[in-house]
Symmetry: C2
Subunit: 123 residues, 2 copies
């Protein structure tokens, strides 16, 4: 019974790979905290990415329907603006809930006092 | 000045790839919450991994000095026991601090009320 309940307890299936990748996690965090969106120039600076990496990761997020990209001009110079979609916000907050669960799982159990007797060595 | 302060604000360099990978994140969370360690059989079940994936990821964690593996026998059957190291605990808690920062960054700013005026379209 206990065994069944604990099955896959630490598998964290909600850590969807599109979001979990380090650079994309930074991009989505910056976009979710800037509801009006951010320019490519700002994203590059905030997430410390090269042009190539930024374009590649934004394309993955765009293909997954998590962000939209508008290309235009500002002061006669090409300007690209990126915004998180409603679906992107939803999926990102679902993902954040898994991160919170990991932090909780790790800290609540790890905070338990060590057992009085040392662990039995495996022979 | 503000621009410099915000440079790389969302780059989250502390998301060390050895730990950030989804399966290894589950393995370390389960091990940090079981200070006496866990058997391979338990880890397989708790993290929902195949034998091959479990061995591969444990090897990565072992090579990085984050876990130790003891092979022995229990009731005349091969038994493998895995424990997080002190260094593993330290690195994992450093990593968790970055996860907590992401959750904070995403939720505190996203919770701001939307601006009264709609965002200016990019033309």
């Amino acid at each position: 019974m206990t065994e069944d309940r604990n099955r896959a307890r630490f598998s964290y299936d909600g850590l969807e790979r599109t979001i979990h990748e380090k650079a994309r996690l930074g991009l989505l965090t910056s976009l979710v905290s800037h509801p009006k969106g951010l320019s490519f120039v700002d994203l590059k600076r905030l997430c410390d990415l090269t042009d190539g990496n930024l374009s590649r990761h934004i394309k993955v997020l765009q293909d997954a329907g998590l962000v939209t990209v508008e290309k235009g001009y500002e002061n006669n110079r090409p300007h690209t603006h990126c915004t998180i979609t409603a679906e992107g916000q939803k999926q990102f907050f679902d993902y954040l809930a898994v991160l919170e669960k990991i932090v909780k799982d790790a800290t609540q159990d790890a905070a338990r006092p060590a057992p009085a007797t040392p662990p039995k060595p495996v022979v």
